[in-house]
């Protein structure tokens, strides 16, 4: 999975592309924690390029969200790919996580 940090306006974002699964989860955690540690409590996660996402990856998103909310920020998911949207709906987590920007084309 490719993890590309960028800025969206003044908010830091992580752009994910490829396979977000149990094997990749530790790398995502490291990248996210690096942002949160730089006192950036609101982080965007761009899922447009995610072709496969599993429950371990989902757990990482939930963990990151709890972490950022505990610092007064949030983890915002944006531009969901079809697999990402499906797994959020299967688990009902699309109602609990902050999702903006709708589904990626």
């Amino acid at each position: 999975m490719e993890i590309t940090p960028r800025l969206e306006g003044d908010r830091p974002a992580l752009e994910l592309a490829g396979r977000f699964d149990a094997h990749e989860a530790p790398r995502f955690r490291a990248a996210l924690d690096a942002l949160l540690d730089r006192d950036q409590p609101v982080v965007l996660v761009d899922l447009a390029g995610v072709a496969f996402i599993d429950s371990t990856a989902l757990s990482e998103l939930v963990r990151g969200m709890k972490h950022s909310r505990s610092r007064g920020g949030d983890l915002v998911l944006c531009r969901l790919s079809a697999p990402a949207r499906v797994i959020l709906e299967l688990t009902g987590l699309h109602r609990a996580l902050t999702v903006e920007g709708g589904v990626a084309s």
Partner: protein
């Protein structure tokens, strides 16, 4: 009689005045007991009295008054003697009562009848201070006493025929009292006491030995009842455990596999009888075994789990083997065990290549096993006796062709032998007729109807034995190509990446969303295996799949730790659990998810039918 006050309330002077005598003397039993007045001269003027009493008076006594006085003294004397006797009896009775009470309170460490007698006889000797005592219950006589010769003599006295009442016996320098025939309910308890010397036992001792007999008989009866109650509770627990065991290892199963429906259910009787069944599907082959371990309770249930596991293991080791070989493997494993514990087990087992429309099976002593076609019902007879009867059996394999709607019905004898309240069995003929009438119905419907029919027949009569039923319904040969494939993974997270390409190849030409949907499902199962079953240490994961026109089935097998479901219901999404979404996701992606621990293997089975995508699933095709 008081010398100063010869009669209650009467002084010597009063007495002499009343009798108009100068001197009065009293003799009891010929011995002087009282004298009032000065030493007299000459013979008395009046003598009166009867029995032990003699009253003499000097002077000019009133004869009638002297007679009256003698009568009063006689009455008082008699009263005193009676009072003394009563007091002695009372003391004796009290002693006896105390003795019996102590005897009844003897504590026991054991409930064995013989040990109770042995313990009691020692107490009898101690409490009665007899030289020796003997108690004879249902077992051998219990004898106690310090003097062996006295003991042996006494023991020899009680071997005669029992009779009511007490016998008083004497020998050279020894005496005994023996009471026999005590205990109206129990075997009679005989009690004997003996002592050295010549003093015979008395009537009171006769009563005593009879009372001891009653006490001992009662104690024996109580210990027996207690023993029986304990045994009953033990059996009850045993049966309960057996039923629980049967419920745990025989989960009801409803399955729709490619071209076949399966229904299996076991309702263990209160005293579970050792019925069993297994159904396994691996790599496109359905395996079933069905049988009954002789006997009831925990032993039968424990043997049952072993028989069940042996069948499953034989199949998992060789999923492509025929039924004859599978049964031979089971027999080879179980025969030494079964013959050692002296039990046997019926077993029918079969294999069915999904979509083939053919069941191949072997039957070792099990009935009823019925093949139900539109033309009629045919019994599949056993070709060898039950397992554990003869070593090295080789059963014949029978090939049963099942067309659309045809059934294979295997039941336990608890089904056909269930009685109605009048004691009439459901019976083979009725069972066969009932099954014949159900041809064409779904497996689940057939199963439910047979259970209902049986309940109606029993009409509240107690369940005699386990009721176990397996119904296999064929859709006949499934047309169209059937494709199967296998994949072996190393058991680390990276190895799971090959699931996608493998599935894409297996599912080529099938609905487009299927590969993505099933990859996620398989992936989640495998992550679970890597993380939990193998705890990150790695280990082989074997994946197999079977695809036909009806749907797809996937199996994941590993040799890691058994899966244990998390306690409690899943948390709602609002609570944002960090983990635990995996299996919940899988359940939504497939029609059926089953887990089974078979031997040292975890077997996950995923079934999904081809059907139009539901609205929420459409994005898969994008």
């Amino acid at each position: 009689v008081n010398p100063t006050a010869p009669l209650p309330g009467l002084s010597a002077a009063d007495l002499l005045a009343a009798l108009r005598a100068t001197t009065v003397r009293l003799h009891l039993d010929g011995r002087p007991r009282g004298a009032w007045g000065p030493e007299p001269d000459g013979p008395p003027a009046v003598r009166a009295g009867a029995g032990p009493v003699l009253l003499e008076a000097w002077g000019e006594p009133h004869e009638a008054a002297v007679s009256a006085a003698a009568a009063v003294v006689g009455a008082l004397q008699e009263h005193a003697v009676t009072e003394g006797r009563l007091t002695r009896s009372l003391v004796e009775a009290h002693d006896r009562l105390l003795l019996l009470q102590q005897l009844a309170e003897v504590p026991f460490d054991s409930l064995e009848g013989q040990e109770v007698l042995d313990r009691l006889v020692v107490e009898v000797v101690r409490l009665t201070r007899a030289g020796a005592a003997v108690l004879v219950g249902s077992a051998r006589p219990a004898v106690a006493g310090a003097d062996p010769a006295l003991r042996d003599w006494l023991a020899g006295l009680v071997t005669g025929p029992a009779r009511a009442g007490a016998r008083f016996l004497s020998g050279p320098d020894r005496t005994a009292v023996v009471s026999e025939g005590i205990g109206p309910i129990e075997a009679p308890v005989v009690v004997g006491l003996a002592r050295s010397g010549t003093e015979p036992f008395g009537t009171a001792d006769g009563q005593l030995v009879r009372s001891i007999g009653h006490t001992v008989a009662r104690t024996l009866r109580l210990t027996r009842l207690h023993r029986e109650a304990v045994a009953r509770v033990t059996i009850e627990r045993d049966y309960e455990a057996a039923s629980e065991l049967a419920r745990a290892v025989l989960p009801p199963r409803r399955l729709r596999l490619s071209g076949v429906e399966l229904f299996a259910r076991s309702v263990p009787a209160r005293s579970a009888g050792g019925d069993f069944y297994t159904t396994l599907a691996v790599d496109g082959t359905l395996f079933f075994s069905f049988g009954d371990v002789a006997g009831k309770g925990l032993t039968a249930a424990l043997v049952m789990t072993r028989v069940l596991a042996a069948g499953a293991r034989a199949f998992l080791d060789r999923p492509d083997a025929g039924p004859t070989e599978l049964l031979a493997r089971v027999d080879a494993e179980l025969y030494p065990y079964l013959s050692e514990i002296g039990l046997f087990a019926t077993m029918a087992l079969g294999v069915h290549r999904l979509g083939s429309g053919v069941v191949r099976m072997c039957n070792a002593g099990h009935s009823p096993t019925l093949a139900v076609h539109a033309e009629g019902v045919r019994a599949v007879p056993p070709s060898v006796p039950p397992l554990g009867v003869l070593p090295g059996q080789r059963a014949e394999s029978e090939e049963i062709r099942l067309g659309p709607g045809d059934l294979l019905v295997v039941s336990s004898d608890g089904f056909v032998e269930q009685e109605d309240p009048a004691g009439a069995m459901f019976g083979y003929e009725r069972f066969m007729a009932a099954v014949a009438a159900l041809h064409g119905r779904s497996a689940e419907d057939v199963g439910d109807r047979l259970y209902r029919m049986l309940s109606a027949h029993a009409a509240g009569a107690p369940m005699g034995d386990d009721r176990t039923l397996l119904v296999l319904r064929s859709h006949g040969e499934v047309p169209g190509p059937t494709r199967s494939a296998r994949l072996e993974l190393a058991g680390d997270l990276l190895s799971l990446r090959s699931l996608g390409p493998w599935l894409t190849e297996l599912l080529a030409g099938r609905p487009a969303d299927a590969a993505a949907r099933l990859e996620l499902a398989l992936h989640e199962i495998c992550v679970n295996v890597v993380d939990h079953a193998y705890a990150g240490a790695g280990g082989p994961i074997r994946v197999a799949g079977l695809v036909d026109d009806q749907g797809v089935q996937l199996w994941v097998r590993d040799r890691g730790r058994p899966y244990t479901p998390p306690p409690g219901p899943p948390a709602p999404p609002e609570e944002l659990q960090v983990r635990g979404y995996g299996l919940a996701i899988v359940r939504q992606l497939v029609d059926e998810l089953r887990y089974e621990r078979v031997g040292d293997e975890n077997v996950w089975e995923l079934t999904a039918g081809w059907r139009p995508a539901r609205p929420g699933e459409e994005p898969w095709s994008s």
